[in-house]
């Protein structure tokens, strides 16, 4: 799925928190969204996900000019995983049941994902018995269960240990290679360098720079970008 | 997991058992061929004496009317009569009853039974009331007033309260001060309070007999004609509203004045206390 953002703005009580003129993400993009706190990263993600409404402007999904998010073909993973009050298995199965998958197919898919994310031993465990890292892996497995065309992530590994982070990153890369467009908000510039193909830097709701990841993070042209990467606080 | 199942089971058993018994009780009533219900307003002392629990089943059996007994203070019972909220009254405030009839709220009042009041106080009688006036209510009250002895009053317009106030009136005294406690409570509660405070109070003999075992009190004054407690029955004027069960009320009045019931009343208390609690005195028909 490709995403086209057209003059999206978001205002809260007269204050403009997001003002993105245009943004083009091709199918198969892996975009890292970075920027200081309050720069509008999560707002942008929520608008694309359909969880928040833009004050003005449109998001186009796919070349056909769809302005309504195709909710059954996209998904989002949050910083803190919210698992349903049930077993790991049933959590992962939930979106598949919603889409009318056959029980046998659901079983196979769960086994496949559990294998890839090291969750096979946890399938019958209840949601409250999992550690933070395990829960996030389950949330990811659940999100990927139906093979979404668009995957949004809001700081998915901010609270996760390095080992689990590596597993999750591996999974994200693999999913992207299989054709899923990925947009991930992250504070971790090193992670962005590891994963992303393109990078979007936001500051105070506006786009500072958007471009190929390696170039932007290694040799930024924009002075603001330079300062941000150097660890300076952008005002 | 097991603990939860056990608790659920326990809860379920109690719920089912109670509902089952509740339903069984309902069926019992149906077996007695009930044709209606009457609402009897009476006093808490009457209810607390236990008399009604013993004799009312006889009424239901004979007439097919269930009795909803609403036990409140005499004042409220009479007010209920005025408002048409009750079908028939059984109270013990002769003056108030006569006023009730005079005002047209009831066609007539009839004597049913009497018991007497007693003045009670701590067993060792620190104020010396018994020594001074074992059979003279007015003298006892005067001494209590003069010596400012702790006295608990019902202060709730009940029959007992009315009787107490009438004695003060006869003496021309108006009790007030820290020693005179106006509680606003029922007879049982007042006796408990009297026990706690080691004071004195006026009580109907029935409630006193029921409660005496649990207290450190004793009778200090009794037997005075002034301590006479006359009960009366009155049907409420059925023209007040459409819900009044006039037939049932009249049936109750007739029943309680009948010779058989009067005999029942006269027997109540003998088994438990060795002495009858009430003396039936309905006029012979």
């Amino acid at each position: 799925m490709n995403i086209i953002i057209d003059r999206i703005t978001k205002e809260y009580g007269g204050r403009k928190v997001l003002d993105v003129d245009s943004l083009d993400l091709n199918e198969g993009a892996f975009c890292g969204v970075i920027g200081p706190n309050g720069s509008g990263k999560s707002t942008l993600l929520n608008i694309i996900a359909g969880l928040a409404e833009a004050t003005s402007g449109q998001v186009f999904y796919e070349e056909y000019g769809m302005t309504e998010p195709p909710l059954k073909r996209m998904t989002m993973v949050f910083q803190t995983p919210y698992l349903l009050r049930t077993t790991v298995e049933k959590n992962i199965a939930y979106p598949l049941k919603l889409r009318g998958w056959k029980p046998q197919d659901i079983d196979n898919r769960i086994r496949e994902l559990a294998d890839e994310l090291g969750l096979t031993d946890f399938l019958k465990h209840k949601n409250w018995s999992l550690s933070g890292g395990e829960a996030q892996k389950v949330a990811l497995a659940r999100a990927l269960s139906f093979r979404p065309e668009l995957l949004l992530l809001d700081e998915p590994t901010a609270n996760i240990d390095p080992a689990t982070t590596a597993e999750i990153e591996r999974m994200l890369k693999k999913t992207n290679e299989e054709g899923t467009t990925v947009i991930v908000v992250t504070h971790n510039l090193v992670q962005a360098k590891r994963l992303c193909k393109e990078t979007l830097l936001l500051n105070k709701g506006k786009v500072v720079e958007f471009g190929p990841c390696e170039k932007m993070l290694k040799n930024p042209e924009n002075e603001l970008t330079q300062r941000f990467i150097a660890g300076e606080i952008l005002i | 997991m097991f603990k939860k199942k056990l608790l659920t089971l326990g809860l379920a058993i109690i719920v089912i058992m109670s509902l089952f018994v509740g339903c069984a009780a309902e069926k019992k009533k149906e077996a007695a061929k009930i044709i209606g219900t009457i609402r009897l307003a009476t006093t808490t002392s009457t209810q607390d004496s236990g008399l009604l629990d013993v004799i009312l089943p006889d009424f239901t059996y004979k007439t097919g009317y269930n009795v909803d007994v609403i036990a409140v203070g005499s004042g409220e019972a009479i007010k209920m009569g005025e408002n048409g909220e009750a079908d028939v009254l059984l109270v013990h405030s002769p003056q108030a009853e006569k006023d009730f009839v005079a005002a047209g709220h009831s066609p007539a009042r009839y004597d049913v039974m009497y018991n007497d009041f007693v003045i009670i106080g701590p067993k060792n009688d620190p104020a010396g009331i018994k020594a001074a006036a074992p059979n003279n209510a007015q003298a006892a009250f005067k001494k209590i007033y003069d010596d400012k002895v702790t006295f608990i009053s019902r202060a709730d317009k009940s029959g007992t309260n009315t009787k107490e106030l009438s004695i003060w009136t006869k003496l021309g005294l108006v009790p007030s001060g820290d020693w005179y406690i106006e509680s606003g409570k029922g007879m049982g509660d007042v006796i408990t309070m009297t026990n706690e405070k080691l004071g004195y109070t006026l009580s109907d003999r029935a409630t006193w007999l029921n409660m005496s075992a649990n207290t450190d009190l004793a009778i200090v004054t009794e037997g005075d004609k002034d301590l006479f407690n006359q009960y009366g029955v009155m049907v409420v004027d059925p023209k007040k509203n459409a819900q009044i069960n006039a037939a049932g009320a009249l049936a109750f009045q007739e029943w309680i004045l009948s010779a058989d019931t009067q005999k029942l009343i006269g027997q109540y208390g003998i088994e438990k206390y060795g002495k009858a609690l009430f003396t039936p005195n309905a006029a012979a028909k």
Partner: protein, 232 residues
């Protein structure tokens, strides 16, 4: 001190004897409470969920009213209901005064705001998270509602059990509208009050024990369910 000891001894004896009057009273208490809580749940849970997930013009005012009604003194509820159903009152012709039905009505007035308010709190706290997850996993409007109900199940159960506890322990309203009539509207709480005023402490303690055991069982039930708490 020995009054209390005597009371406990007599209490055990009475309970073991299986006194019919006692069981009838317990049965009525449970019946009235279960009935009123059922009705209050039926009204309060959807209402609370609705208020928690929508925004509308008088929302704040409505919430203030609900919160105030949550601490409505039972005697006031009883008095108000009685003024309506007494013979002289506007609904006098229905002959509801001094009946178990009147007791249920009064308790519904007391318990519904409680269940509504507590449900609203649960929903407001968690509904957004549940909705976000449901939407991002592809759930339609109806499926979102289904998920909401199943995810908030435990919180809502807590609200219902709170209502049940309040209803069982209530004495003011049921005394006023019920009249504590033997065999008809006498429940555990009004019976205890009467026994105390008659000086019959042993029976009062016995009934008190039954009431406490029931309260304990109901709350243990909830406690066990709540044990497994969520990690959001």
């Amino acid at each position: 001190m020995d009054v209390i000891a005597e009371g406990f001894k007599a209490a055990i004896a009475l309970l073991l004897k299986g006194d019919a009057q006692l069981y009838e009273i317990v049965g009525l208490s449970l019946g009235v409470s279960l009935c009123s809580v059922a009705i209050s749940t039926f009204i309060g849970v959807p209402l609370g969920a609705l208020i928690g997930t929508r925004d509308f013009k008088f929302k704040n005012a409505l919430l203030r009213v609900i919160y105030t009604l949550m601490s409505l003194p039972p005697v006031i509820a009883g008095l108000l209901v009685f003024l309506f159903i007494m013979r002289r009152g506007p609904l006098g012709s229905l002959e509801l005064a001094y009946t178990p039905t009147a007791m249920v009505i009064a308790q519904v007035c007391l318990v519904t705001p409680i269940i509504t308010g507590l449900t609203y709190n649960i929903v407001r706290e968690k509904a957004d998270k549940v909705k976000n997850i449901a939407v991002t996993l592809g759930a339609g409007k109806f499926e979102v509602l289904k998920l909401l109900l199943s995810e908030l199940k435990i919180g809502i159960l807590a609200a219902i059990v709170t209502g049940m506890g309040r209803s069982l322990s209530e004495v003011g309203a049921v005394m006023i509208v019920g009249g504590n009539i033997k065999g008809k509207t006498r429940v555990m709480t009004t019976y205890i009050a009467q026994l105390k005023s008659m000086g019959d402490y042993s029976t009062a303690i016995a009934v008190g024990i039954v009431l406490m055991v029931l309260a304990f069982l109901i709350n243990s039930f909830l406690y066990n369910y709540q044990q497994r708490d969520e990690r959001l």
